[in-house]
């Protein structure tokens, strides 16, 4: 009798523990690692895993602010176009004789401006959803990149620029180190500052937040501007890794980024989600794709797998809350 009670208690504890989406992610993560290392002896070599981060971490910089955007209950699908635009403008301005450091600053400011423009439109035209605004700016930004460069490529960057994408810092890829710094910054921003609390409040109830004195518009503009800035950071790393740039770089990145955020447990209804989950899902998706690549799974099949994973991630909590409601009714 006593034992039964105890076991029941323990299972409840376990249950509440596993209710955290992050723990499920950790579980899937471990499964991915185990399965991959069984399938391929090359997977678990530490050097391989660490350098694999170079492949997928470039998008990860956008995932962090995108989590903010989705917690707000909005969405930004123009990020890939911002990456392309800022990368192209950086490449062209370098090729026109601008010093590289200045071109990099130009890249960051183009991203910031594009994000600011998104935010401004969304705030000034509240009748429009963020989907439609960023959809049209997505076409416009990519279009401007095409106007500037056509079907040409810009490149020939100085040697030191490739350090961003390929260099090491203290034995770790420079990209990984930078990402870690940004992850900590965004963690503090979201979880330890009033700014972060305001984002959650706005995601839960925009009207109530406005009436309680939060400067709703200002925060929205800041978040979208931040997204633009981080998109241009991605542009820096991506361009450095590839060594040249074209107007059609980063096509489809917005989907990957949104998939990672949603998989990280950020609710698309807004107001829910944590940076830890998002970071976990970045590495989960990254290592999953890396493992699939080692198994010679074609890129198209990877598309299917990531798509299904995304659907699975969104639909799981929905069905759970449904059953919960049903239970509470009876």
């Amino acid at each position: 009798m006593k034992e039964k009670l105890m076991s029941a208690k323990r299972s409840i504890d376990l249950k509440s523990l596993f209710q955290y989406w992050e723990w499920k992610l950790v579980l899937i993560f471990i499964i991915v690692i185990i399965v991959n290392s069984i399938l391929s002896p090359h997977f678990l070599s530490a050097a391989g895993l660490v350098s694999a981060t170079r492949i997928f971490l470039d998008k990860a910089f956008i995932v962090l602010p995108m989590a903010f955007v989705i917690i707000l209950g909005d969405i930004d699908i123009s990020v890939a176009s911002i990456v392309a635009l800022s990368s192209v403008i950086m490449g062209v301005s370098y090729n026109l004789g601008m010093p590289m450091w200045l071109a990099m600053i130009v890249c960051l400011s183009v991203g910031t401006l594009s994000g600011f423009f998104n935010g401004l439109l969304i705030v000034k035209f509240k009748e429009l959803s963020a989907v439609i605004v960023t959809l049209s700016t997505m076409i416009i930004y990519r279009g401007i990149a095409f106007i500037i460069l056509g079907d040409l490529a810009a490149g020939g960057f100085p040697q030191w620029f490739s350090f961003l994408g390929w260099g090491d810092l203290g034995g770790l890829p420079f990209m990984l180190v930078t990402f870690a710094v940004f992850a900590v910054i965004f963690f503090i921003l979201l979880h330890k500052t009033t700014f972060g609390r305001k984002i959650y409040a706005m995601g839960n109830n925009l009207t109530a937040s406005r009436f309680s004195g939060i400067q709703v518009d200002k925060i929205k503009v800041i978040v979208f501007t931040l997204t633009g800035l981080m998109a241009s950071v991605t542009a820096l790393f991506l361009t450095s890794r590839m060594g040249s740039t074209r107007p059609n770089v980063a096509i489809g990145y917005e989907l990957d980024v949104i998939a990672m955020v949603v998989l990280g447990g950020v609710s698309t209804a807004g107001g829910k989600g944590r940076i830890i989950g998002v970071i976990l899902s970045i590495f989960l998706v990254g290592f999953l794709k890396f493992g699939l690549g080692l198994q010679n799974v074609p890129a198209q099949a990877q598309l299917v797998i990531v798509g299904l994973l995304l659907i699975f991630a969104v639909i799981m909590p929905n069905f759970k809350t449904k059953t919960k409601i049903r239970k509470s009714k009876t």
């Binding site: 076409i139 416009i140 279009g143 106007i147 056509g150 299917v304 990531v306 995304l310």
Partner: protein, 335 residues
């Protein structure tokens, strides 16, 4: 009081009509301008060509209109189109003797399956439309590459009567145009004169009250996405027959054009309103732009940005006009 109400309504209605008229006038001015720059624009050949290029866009826009009317969006249709086109091209390659009508039905079936999957996720799984269709877009696009093994099906592998689906003619009119006209009429009747058609608008303009008044929202949503999918499936067959090649990346990004056509045609993204005539005019405008920009020596690299600006412009003007109407209605109420 009722009289004043009626007046307001007339005012609002006239502005909506003005919108379509405005679009129409804009199209005419644009055509005249292009004609002045390049006289081969308004030749019968070119017009015929242009209309045939616009047919697929306009068919898809009708479906997308219904989706947007229910406050949703479907980004997966480009991938659905590619999948259905690819599968039907593969089937035709293996069975050259197959009846074209059967091929068309096959394409519609594939589209229906794809669309109802998205619809299921949206209506039963309560996934946001943009996320559901984004995920399924990946899946469909991946499947397209997988069934084809990454290879193309090209013109010489398709029998002539298959290509005739797009190039043939019935009573002197191109088959594709006939199909499109048939779909326009069908949709016009369905949306305006059937109960289910009106339900779609009810669900879109106020989901809660639609639910309370006994409409099964989730069924309507499911139906709308399935319809969208079927139209995309049909368009897939038409696309492959028209361009006589099926590729893995067919119609990549085409969903944006379709959404743009809807937005230009005055379909409100916040749901509940949209007219078939507007959507057809919207897709015609985009078709003209696509066709005419090369004719007046605008570099193809400018096309995307121009399209984007026109879409943004149309959306913003839409909002400003609506604000104006609302404000004038409020003012009148004061007096």
């Amino acid at each position: 009081m009722p009289e004043r109400d009626l007046k307001n309504r007339i005012n609002a209605a006239s502005i909506v009509k003005f919108r379509e008229l405005g679009l129409f006038i804009f199209i005419i001015i644009l055509s005249i301008f292009i004609q002045l720059r390049n006289s081969s624009f308004l030749t019968l050949d070119n017009i015929n060509d242009m209309i045939r290029n616009t047919v697929i866009l306009s068919i898809l826009s009708l479906g997308m209109m219904l989706v947007i009317v229910t406050r949703g969006i479907d980004l997966s249709i480009g991938a659905t189109l590619a999948l259905s086109g690819m599968v039907s091209a593969l089937v035709v390659r293996e069975n050259p003797g197959m009846n074209p009508i059967l091929v068309v039905l096959l394409g519609i079936m594939i589209g229906l399956i794809c669309g109802s999957t998205v619809g299921f996720l949206v209506s039963r799984g309560r996934v946001l439309p943009i996320i559901a269709s984004l995920g399924m877009m990946n899946v469909f696009r991946g499947l397209t590459f997988m069934v084809s093994g990454g290879r193309w099906v090209s013109a010489h592998q398709m029998p002539d009567h298959f290509k005739a689906i797009a190039t043939g003619s019935i009573m002197g009119i191109n088959t594709m145009i006939m199909i499109a006209l048939f779909i326009y009429l069908l949709f016009y009747y369905f949306v305006n004169y059937t109960r289910t058609g009106r339900y779609i608008y009810a669900v879109g303009s106020n989901p809660e009250s639609a639910q309370i008044s006994g409409i099964e929202n989730s069924k309507i949503l499911w139906m709308v996405y399935s319809l969208m999918g079927s139209l995309a499936g049909l368009s897939g067959v038409l696309w492959v027959a028209r361009f006589a090649s099926a590729q893995g990346d067919t119609a990549m990004g085409f969903e944006l054009n379709v959404i743009a056509a809807c937005v230009l045609g005055g379909v409100s993204i916040s749901g509940g309103s949209g007219k078939i005539s507007g959507v057809i005019l919207g897709s015609l405008l985009l078709g003209i732009l696509n066709n005419a920009l090369p004719l007046i020596d605008v570099s193809p690299f400018w096309q995307q940005a121009i399209q984007g600006f026109i879409i943004l412009f149309a959306v913003l003007v839409n909002v400003l006009v609506k604000r104006r109407v609302d404000r004038s209605n409020l003012m009148r109420r004061k007096i």
